[in-house]
Amino acid sequence: MTAVEIPVEKWPGAVREVTLGGSYGGGTRTSTVTVGGEKTLPFLGFEGALPHRPALAVEVVDMEPADWSPELVAVWGADLRDPARWAARAVAEGAELIALKLRSCHPDFGDRGATDARATVDRVLAAVGVPLIVYGPGAADKDNEVLVAVAEATKGEQLALGLCEEKNYRTIVAAALGNGHVVIAQTPIDVNLAKQLNILISDMRLPLERVLMDPNTGALGYGLEYTYSVMERLRLAALMGDAMTQQPMICTAGEEAWRQKEGRAAADVPAAWGALAERGVAWEVTTALTMLEGGADIVVLRHPGSVGVLREALDDLTKGA
């Protein structure tokens, strides 16, 4: 008998646990989601503890998206016109989190204000029991305006607020700090920038148990390998004990995958690409699963079909853990 000793790494560090969804202080969520806590590399249950499985979030936009892939328009249908219905359907399709994007507050897409933003968030909170991630419209001034208003109006719900970047982190962190929320710290595909932003946030006394980090996802075929390697490096650093890399990671795999030509073009593409319905889901699943293998704790998706495929994959990957 050949002796084979299974090599097991002893990791001195661990990823922090972050909980979304208010279970105290007035929160109305019927379920909460805790991610992180890993004491080994993704899904290597033989080596160390993996207390929480990664969570699947579905993106919901507060206005009918004019530029989304025809495949997404077809699959969601009229639900795209009502964020509350859309969110409820997403939960029925398997979403464990709803990622609500307040796009209509963007100066170019309606420029709606804080009152409207709060009303939309309230409607989605009423429609679903799962925790919410709330993204601003992606324009600096309006992000600050609406996210602060939403944060104040939803005290206790323990939302994840995004994006919290180097240019606006003070405002977003202050809003989260005062109202019991979590922030999503995004930096552009770089280990040191990610660490630096975590340090800045930590300096403002927001507990790191309330920080998710977004390493900025590149889609399959569009820079995915850069993100994947940065994520592997961040997770290795976290396990080696570097305190400022120990945040759970969130990746917007759906947005990136469906933005590309492979997720949008229905005609005038080579036959080898396959049909859009299959191709879009294939692109999203491959992007998201690669991120999960690299250490993602939350992936934000767009297509219900991808949610099903990834839920099955995670059932398998986390069994016995």
Binding site: G223, G274, E278, R279, V285, T286, L289, G294, V309
Partner: protein
């Protein structure tokens, strides 16, 4: 396992004769350890030392070739667990499985051989066909393999059967010349299979019960003892979690523990009842250590995604693929054709060039030297600023080839338009779309000379 400089020094003559070009034997040994010198430079090295050094310098994961001729592929010879530590060298072969009694066998073989998709200037293809023995005797199996070879000449094969007589029949029927991978030596029949593989000089997969890496190592050693040099390891499969654990353990054992019997590429049977579940399994196999990935579904969308993933993961992280910075003509561009500028990251170039081409509007595409970075990354790093854009335009000689003075810059650097206008007096700077996919609409509906 690689030897240290000191360990190598002990094997050298220690005469400091300097004939190798180094001042001392120790200096030569240190250089050998860093792979900066060849052992042949020492005229006095003993055979014994040579054998020891050759064994020690053998790669921890053997390079194995599957197939013969133009479409043969090599797997193995990997040196790291994570691609950022160096790079992954030999991308896994993507193989589609077909049953030997499938009436569509020949048609599937031809489709596998003919599948091709272009991405960033490279043609991506499937690597082989696995013919699984299903029903029928050895002669029927050999006939199926012959039919596959006739339908897909030169396409590497994986011969899958537990019956050594069936494999022997297929190999003696002509397949042996194409060096197919034989799958698999397993259980009590291992010896018969090893004898067939050794006789025909074909690579052989060994398979143990799922999760039994000790059994796999034992079998690998036995097969090697029976004269098979090129081995592929199939640790069995229990799904995603089991595969990830087994593949990770195999890679670690080979690289960190120097386990010679497990120092071979990995065979991943990623098949599943639906193409979606199969895609998930194959995705994991590509990113986590497989040398051969077998799927059942020839769904083009999934194949395209997997080939793209493989290209991404096996790109050398230290060398992003770059384009030569210069003026490119898309279609037959003339004096009135639009002029666009972008950076020399290959993906950026091919995305933009592809969309300009599909717009059907001939154009000049000026590619600036951004050290291979994309528009946004280059802009953030100061490698694609107004000065660089202006200098690229002036140095390109484009002014003498067009009758207008309009330059389209990427939408992502819209903020630079004022500065570029200052740097290029007399030019009109137009802001193009942010994403390449919107270029056709822009060229057809917005741009005018």
């Amino acid at each position: 396992m690689a030897l240290t400089g000191l360990a190598i020094y002990k094997l050298l003559p220690k005469t400091n004769c300097k004939e190798c070009g180094f001042p001392t034997c120790l200096a030569f040994a240190m250089k050998l350890a860093q792979k900066g010198a060849e052992l042949d430079k020492c005229p006095y090295v003993s055979d014994e030392a040579r054998t020891a050094l050759d064994a020690a310098s053998a790669p921890p994961i053997k390079l194995v070739a599957i197939g013969a001729g133009e479409r043969a592929f090599e797997i193995g010879n990997e040196v790291v667990l994570f691609r950022h530590e160096k790079t992954f060298y030999h991308q896994p072969g993507l193989v589609v499985r077909v049953k030997s009694d499938d009436p569509q066998l020949a048609e599937t073989a031809a489709r596998v051989a003919g599948y091709e998709v272009e991405r960033v200037g490279m043609k991506l293809r499937l690597d082989g066909l696995a013919v699984e023995h299903a029903g029928g005797d050895a002669a029927a199996y050999a006939a199926a393999v012959a039919a596959a070879r006739a339908a897909a000449p030169g396409l590497p094969l994986v011969l899958m059967s537990g019956d050594a007589a069936a494999i022997a029949a297929a190999l003696s029927g002509g397949a042996a010349a194409e060096k197919p991978l034989v799958h698999a030596a397993a259980g009590s029949a291992w010896q018969a299979m090893a004898e067939v593989a050794a006789k025909y000089g074909c690579p052989l997969a060994v398979r143990a019960e799922a999760g039994d890496l000790a059994g796999l190592a034992e079998l690998s050693a036995k097969v090697r003892g029976a004269g098979v040099e090129d081995i592929v390891l199939d640790p069995g499969t229990t799904g995603l979690a089991g595969d990830l654990a087994a593949f990770t353990q195999l890679r670690r054992l080979a690289l960190k523990k120097g386990a010679r019997a497990l120092g071979f590429p990995i065979f991943a049977l990623a098949t599943a009842p639906t193409w979606q579940a199969e895609l998930a399994r194959a995705t994991q196999a590509v990113v986590k250590y497989a040398g051969v990935v077998v799927v059942d579904h020839l769904e083009p969308a999934a194949v395209y995604a997997l080939l793209t993933l493989r290209q991404n993961i096996y790109t050398d992280p230290q060398k992003p693929i770059q384009m030569e910075p210069k003026l490119y003509e898309i279609g037959s561009a003339g004096p009135a054709s639009p002029l666009l500028i972008t950076t020399n990251f290959s993906l950026t170039y091919f995305s933009v060039a592809g969309e300009v081409e599909s717009a059907g509007v001939p154009a000049w595409l000026l590619v600036a030297d951004s050290d291979g970075q994309s528009v946004l990354t280059a802009w953030a790093a100061g490698k694609f600023d107004a000065e660089k854009i202006a200098r690229t335009v002036k140095d390109s000689g484009i002014e003498s080839r067009i009758s207008h003075k309009k330059l389209v810059i990427p939408g992502h650097v819209a903020g630079l338009s004022g500065e570029v206008e200052e740097e290029l007096p007399g030019w009109q700077i137009m802001v193009g779309p942010r994403d390449a996919v919107d270029i056709p609409n822009y060229l057809k509906n917005v741009w005018s000379a």
